[in-house]
Amino acid sequence: MNGVPDLLVLDHVTAGYGLGDVLHGVDLTVAEGEVVCLIGPNGAGKSTVLRTVSGLLRPGGGQVRLRGEPVDHLSPRERLLRGIAHVPQERSLFPAMSVWDNLLMGGHILDRGRAGRAAVRERADTVAEQFPIVAARRHEAAGSLSGGEQKQVELARALMLDPALMLLDEPSIGLEPRARQAVFATVRALADAGRSILLVEQNARSGLAVADRAAVLESGRVQLNGTGRALLADPRVARLYLGAKEGV
């Protein structure tokens, strides 16, 4: 983004599982207040990028920087404290706990002493105002909510630490169309509020529509880069990821 400092920089990052690398020198930036969407085929390494940023996976080479500071050596917990919140693809709520307790879990890291506890409660009240489902179903077990409702609570929980950067891994996966729309509306609202988001999305059309910038990842490398709108209009993206026919 012109003139806006980069919040996150992935500088030629390689990473993988076991002996094999999945990412082969990924370069990517997310500016302050920007939504960047990563699209690509299955197995391209999109989720691996997010796991590398959140610390669940250590890069084999290259560097991950947050506000110019390398974070590769930090644990996921330390990165959380620096403001990187990861909402994974799979359902991540604690189904037996109430919706409210799930929300409080998002602030657990700060819940120390009376002042910390009060701050977490206050933050929970603020977050609940933005997510009506949390207030409406606060005493119910999270497992009793629908998939779309659970995703809303997951997003609310990720906001508990007021993160500088949100990593959203396929937030719309497995949701029915109305719940999917609600999730993208929430992502849009977060973006409008100035939240920086790195979004991985299989539903390329919706992902690109919500993004300021986007990148296409294939075989662990960034193959295309541009604004969300530009990539939506790119014929190669249209053919491979938006279901357009040859020549359209």
Binding site: H86, S92, F94, A96, M97, D101, M105, H108, I109, R112
Partner: protein
């Protein structure tokens, strides 16, 4: 009606708790038969042990089958200490219980640090293996434990007619300590962390819960009470030997009581102990030699798992909520 229900919900449990506590305090004074006080003493011991076990097995979801080892370590520590000293006024050995509880917890932490790298059924196997290691050590470290011959400590110099009373009140104090710990944990960030660990440890870690520290703290708290109960038990009996002090059935008893009453609840383990322990005492007296009570144990376990797998209190609470929702 609703207002009355709300008022009951607010003050009812506290008032019931106070009434229960008063009844437990008065019980040994009102009852003249010593055997009844003995049954009460063992019931309180099991209630304290089950509440302590619940911190690990209920809140954190780590089903330890090795807690009898820590009970035995507390018992041996007490017995060995007082075979080398005089029991003084008779109350002296009770004052050594807190340091014994803390010392056994200090031994338990590294054990838990290793064992808690495994989960669920593997954790249960690791902990019961530890139990047998400790039992074998008790058999073989003859210079310290007396081996299979056991170790005898001086009999407490209390009046025969009311001999059980001090031990009864010591067990009641331990039950109150275990309940205070459980209440404190349940209403703290540690309780929330342990509930998250029980739900899904990896998810808990991903939201920043210090999983290892939470588990070890719960384990250590649990062992403090367990070892202290072992100390009171050893002083009461004044003679212990390995297979008696480090008995896997003790661990199984704790598990059964917690499962019956309700895992991860404050009062469930107490309810379980108050049902199972007196019945166990009766069956052990009545059919002790044949060990038929073990069949009753197994049958009860199967029934609990089939009829109310979450335990009596959670099942009852669900039924009340459903009835209220229908009304």
């Amino acid at each position: 009606m609703r207002r009355r229900l709300g008022r009951y919900r607010r003050y009812g449990p506290g008032l019931a708790g106070l009434a229960g506590l008063a009844a437990l305090v008065v019980f040994p004074l009102a009852v003249s038969a010593p055997w009844l006080v003995t049954v009460g003493l063992f019931t309180l011991m099991y209630a304290a042990l089950a509440s302590a076990w619940n911190l690990v097995g209920g809140y954190a979801g780590y089903p330890s089958l090795g807690h009898a080892a820590f009970f035995g370590m507390g018992a041996y520590a007490e017995a060995i200490w007082w075979t080398h000293r005089t029991a003084g006024s008779g109350y002296g050995p009770f004052w050594t219980l807190p340091p014994i509880g803390l010392a056994v917890a200090a031994v338990a932490v590294p054990v838990a640090w290793i064992a808690m790298r495994t989960r669920t059924d593997v954790f249960a196997i690791v902990t019961i293996t530890f139990l047998f290691v400790v039992q074998t050590l008790a058999f073989n470290l003859r210079g310290l434990t007396g081996g299979a011959q056991g170790v005898a400590m001086p009999v407490a110099p209390f009046t025969p007619a009311t001999f059980e009373r001090p031990f009864y009140y010591a067990m009641l104090a331990l039950l109150l300590l275990a309940l205070a710990m459980s209440y404190g944990v349940l209403h703290s960030r540690l309780g929330l962390a342990l509930t998250a660990v029980r739900g899904d440890e990896d998810k808990a870690r991903s939201v920043g819960v210090p999983v290892g520290a939470a588990k070890l703290t719960a384990f250590a708290l649990s062992v403090v009470v367990t070892a202290m109960a072992g100390g009171v038990w050893a002083y009461y009996l004044s003679f212990i030997y390995p297979q008696f002090a480090i008995d896997p059935l003790l661990s199984i008893g704790m598990v059964l009581m917690v499962f019956l009453g309700g895992r991860g609840t404050l009062w469930g383990p107490v309810l379980g102990a108050f049902v199972v322990a007196p019945a166990q005492q009766y069956l052990a007296y009545r059919f002790g030699a044949s060990q038929l009570y073990l069949l009753a144990y197994a049958a009860l376990f199967v029934v609990v798992m089939l009829v109310m797998p979450r335990g009596a209190l959670p099942t009852l609470r669900d039924r009340i909520r459903r009835a209220e929702a229908r009304a």
